[in-house]
Amino acid sequence: MRDVGILSFAQSNAKSELRNEVEILLPVVKEAVKASGLARNDIDFTCSGSSDFLQGQPFAFVMALDGVGAWPPIKESHVEMDGAWALYESWVKIQTGEVESALIYSFGKTSPGDLAEVLALQLDPYCVTQLWPDADSVAGIQARLFLERSGRSERDLAEIAVRSLADAKDNPHAVAKGDFDAAKLLSEPYRTSPLRDHDCPTNADGATVMVIASADIARKHGQRPVWIRGIDHRIDPPALGVRDLTRAPSAEIAAGKARVGADKIDFAEIDAPYTHQELILREALGLGDGVRVNPSGGSLCTRTLFSCGLNRIGDAYQRIASGDGDRAVALATAGHCLQQNLVCVLEGE
């Protein structure tokens, strides 16, 4: 395996953006390229993650290239997934020896459409989508099963929300943040029981950019090198009835392949849009109660779809780069009820 290091990371998140995708993306690209120390034309490969269903505009992902620097022509690819999967493709590309560096970007505007309906299109088109179950309802089914199986309580979920919102206060990129009281949150009505508003993600519009490179380039960067020590992604069946919704076997397998348990984990950045999903993923990753999860506030506070998975990896990178921990695990999720999971282990030198 070739060592691959992260050179830079930049993000933009806002509750509702009036700028178009190109206008959101452009300054974020500039920021990340500048911080990488590489000239734009010296970055060998460009890979993006986004979905045109979010903004309802065909080929929005092609238009976004206007803001990324595609002239003279570049080697470029796109995944209809969170940017974390574009990172995976770029990492593989570096492993093949075909390229030495890559710029990964993702963007998502959750505000133009009815997100609950848009996400229903990820479900089985023959037997489920026609019922138009909204995403929060599907998550509610999973949460109910999980509480039954694990013996956890709605109070445990509220405490995750309180902790995440408090941690988000230190994150200038977080959209929802503040001091809340669990008892008070529990007196609020249900949204889709057993979930209340505080258990469901705050959606956002934004973009994310990361630059990675092989070891020689990463070492020249000057900053403390942060290496991708393991990265793997796995998929569970999409049909809601055929798997145990209270577990995430795909995350567990990916964690094994990425060697999460090979050494001590200082903290974790987990893309768990709903509070109960953090507990499911903690189990799948084998994280003890002592491991700090989502010091950024996580995707519960800022769910910029198609970016928030890559944001977890980027937030973990920045924390390690600044010396706040040596080894971390980041996880990105996609689909309903944690159907697909990508696990990435980062290590500072």
């Binding site: 953006e17 178009n20 190109v22 206008e23 290239l65 620097g69 595609a70 002239w71």
Partner: protein, 164 residues
């Protein structure tokens, strides 16, 4: 079950509604149309004027936020004769759609040509926008009904090479 007629198709209608946010650059353009003006944008003085503007200059990936008005006259840089119907287009078949290099712009602008026999449509032909009546102007490209010939002499192909 063995005798049951297999289901070969089902209909599952999908309808999604979106609130489109035009962004800063397209907002300039759309507001211009409601004032009978075609507004492009560029990244700075001397840089190409892009119409319609989408936010960035794709060659440099610099923000293209400076509004520049272009003329509603221009030159046909390419065209196609349309012989198939389209639900949203009211023009009688066949008709020509044209890519017009508006005077002052650096890239072609897509629209429909009318008031011109199809055998006369050609690259280099000078055309002008036909606007809808003033009380019908809106923040939409349909404020321009179509383009039509001006009758001016053609622009030689050599001068259009960059844009064809």
């Amino acid at each position: 079950m063995a005798d049951a007629e297999p289901i070969k198709a089902i209909v599952t209608p999908v309808r999604l509604e979106y609130d489109f946010t035009a962004g800063k650059a397209a907002t300039l353009f759309l507001r211009g149309l409601a004032r009978k003006k075609i507004i492009g944008a560029r990244s700075g003085p001397g840089q190409p004027v892009l119409v319609p503007p989408r936010g960035a200059d794709p060659r440099t990936s610099e923000l293209a936020a400076e509004a520049v008005e272009v003329k509603d006259t221009g030159t046909v840089v390419t065209y196609s004769i349309i012989r198939v119907p389209s639900e949203n287009i009211k023009f009688e078949l066949p008709y020509a759609c044209v890519n017009v290099l508006l005077d002052g712009a650096a890239i072609g602008f897509f629209h429909v040509l009318q008031n011109c026999p199809l055998e006369d449509v050609r690259i280099g032909m000078r055309v002008r926008a036909k606007w809808v009546a003033d009380d019908k102007l809106t923040t939409s490209v349909s404020s321009i009904e179509y383009f039509e010939p001006t009758g001016e002499p053609d622009v030689p192909y050599e001068k259009l090479r960059e844009n064809t």
